[in-house]
Symmetry: C2
DNA sequence: TTGTATGCGTTATCAT
DNA sequence: ATGATAACGCATACAA
């Protein structure tokens, strides 16, 4: 392996000078720099990240806690796209990204311990499971942290505008003439609570009553559960005319349930998804849904984290809200 | 930050002894070990990965070159699932995983350079673009490497059984009575070549002629292109009765094209996808396709790479083939 | 402008 | 069983 010392020997100077020359220090002679640079290139010198990290306490490496919690092996497009956005932007900004896990070299490690072991410059958390104590511990440590779709006091975060998203959907459905709107929502998370509040608030504002049984707690990304919930709704004496699903995948379960009982969407019952996955627009009828801007969310998270890292003590956290866009498909029927 | 030295001071012994005790060396006294261990725990000691890497030349960190090349911002479920599988298994095996990119700390870096800089124990390549010289350079370096869906001489790899996959599909379509089978395939890659060969071979074995114009080179994951290609096929004087698409997403474009001209699948024309993404089974008609076992592919890649790393010079590369499974949906009509 | 010296935190070798 | 010492590769404060 070619080291700084080897270059020094070759150039007849000291390692210190080589280091400076390679790092663009101002106090090295013009031609010495040239000589060193070309020697380094010729010899195929690659700096040693570990050595540098040890010395400088900077790694240019960001930790990413990424948990999909995908039921039944489904990949979650929303998370994949966020990952992509985060990765691309972080790389542009000069950072590497490594996954944070809870085991390393055999021993068990908490997330923070892992992050410390690797000396990540900062950490991004992209998950749903912010109640996990290990996650909280990480976010509340002294390591620069950015979260997605959850807010920790004093930390930067990127939020999908779930409030506006649900409000928009409800308003749209209302504008299409619906007055009996049901809401199947995901398990209790911060996102879910936001969406629920928006649902009740908007219904209230529009004077739309929410009968008992119209709001059902389900599970994200679980078509089977959605099917069951849909059954339950359609069995009611006064069934809804429109059902909001927790996500586009869940909608598929609802669709199946409706078809099983000979009902068609949107003729007999209307439906709305959430996420706006690519497939939603290829479906027939195409799905009315809220497209979350996942790639942008990931990218902004990278930027915010970079800011947290470089600004250090002077960093003041921002709460970045990314709006979604309503995709008006064909699954909501216009009622007379 | 609490170091090994601090523990030594607290325990009244030397750093060397602490290191040994913590690493389970046999030559440390029973109670000394206990004393050190508990002190370390109490003080919240976390080893410094950089220091350790510097000393031992082992990082327990795997590099992952992961390129989706997703057109139009589509997430590619196949790749996402592979990533998941790789990540989970690698973590179980005690490794961290970091993405390999081409820029770090501002400067440009080739993939190998990046890998050397980070001193990855090994490297996995999950991409389509094996013609990229930078990718080749990485795979041909002295760093333990495993590739997916591409084989480098002397290196381990995990292959989806594209040959059998296409053969199975053609045979199935044939068994359903089809004799005019068209094949829209993706851009020229190793995978594509394998699939093409399997297509021609199987058609030959079955005595199914492949008229000029029935095989069209397209683009993976591009519904628009698939639509155009479908048009072209359906405009032929003797159009095919069944069309094989390069993937499930492309099928959606074909479906649209067919519908636009008033044809329905499978009544007027049959169709087959590839990948077996989750959505394919929710579609109506449900898609006949070849499910690739992406999670397993990723997991096996991690295992093979781990083997390459730990066995060192004694490692003999394996070529692991993962079969797919035919999902017989409703898009292939039985011909009289 | 260049070089010397020191230390980052750890492990490994060799004495004791 | 324990410790002193050196070294991994690099960057920096300071001396020359």
């Amino acid at each position: 392996m070619v080291t700084i010392k080897a270059i020094a020997a070759r150039c007849g100077c000291s390692p210190a000078t080589v280091s400076k020359a390679l790092n663009g220090a101002p106090d090295v002679g013009r031609d010495m720099v040239k000589k060193i640079r070309s020697a380094a290139a010729e010899m195929g010198y690659i700096p040693n990240g570990a050595a540098r990290a040890l010395k400088t306490a900077r790694t240019y490496n960001l930790g990413l806690l990424f948990q999909e919690f995908s039921h039944s092996g489904l990949a979650h497009e929303f998370f994949s796209l966020m990952l992509n956005g985060f990765k691309s932007r972080a790389e542009e900004l000069g950072y590497d990204i490594s996954f944070i896990s809870s085991h390393l070299e055999g021993r068990g490690f908490s997330y923070v311990e892992h992050a410390r072991y690797r000396k990540f410059d900062g950490v991004a958390v992209i998950t749903v499971n912010y109640d996990d104590p290990a996650v909280r511990e990480l976010a509340e440590s002294d390591i620069p942290t950015v979260t997605v779709d959850y807010e920790f006091p004093g930390r930067g975060c990127v939020m999908s505008d779930n409030d506006q998203g649900v409000a928009d959907l409800v308003q749209y459905v209302h504008s299409m003439g619906h007055r009996r709107i049901a809401f199947i929502h995901g398990e209790q998370t911060a996102v879910t609570r936001t969406r629920l509040a928006a649902f009740f608030r908007t219904c209230g504002q529009l004077g739309v009553p929410v009968p008992k049984g119209y709001v059902i707690e389900g599970v994200y990304h679980d078509p089977d559960f959605a099917a069951v919930a849909t059954e339950r709704l359609l069995n009611m004496p006064e069934p809804p005319t429109c059902i909001l699903y927790p996500d586009d995948i869940s909608y598929m379960g609802g669709l199946e349930a409706a078809e099983r009982r000979g009902l068609s969407i949107p003729e007999d019952v209307s439906a709305v998804g959430y996420d706006g996955i690519a497939m939603s627009q290829f479906l027939r009828p195409s799905l009315t849904t809220m497209r979350q801007n996942a790639p942008l969310m990931g990218a902004r998270a990278a930027e915010e984290l970079s800011r947290a890292v470089t600004e250090g003590r002077a960093y003041s956290p921002e709460r970045i809200v990314i709006p979604g866009v309503l995709l008006a498909g064909e699954t909501v029927k216009r009622l007379k």
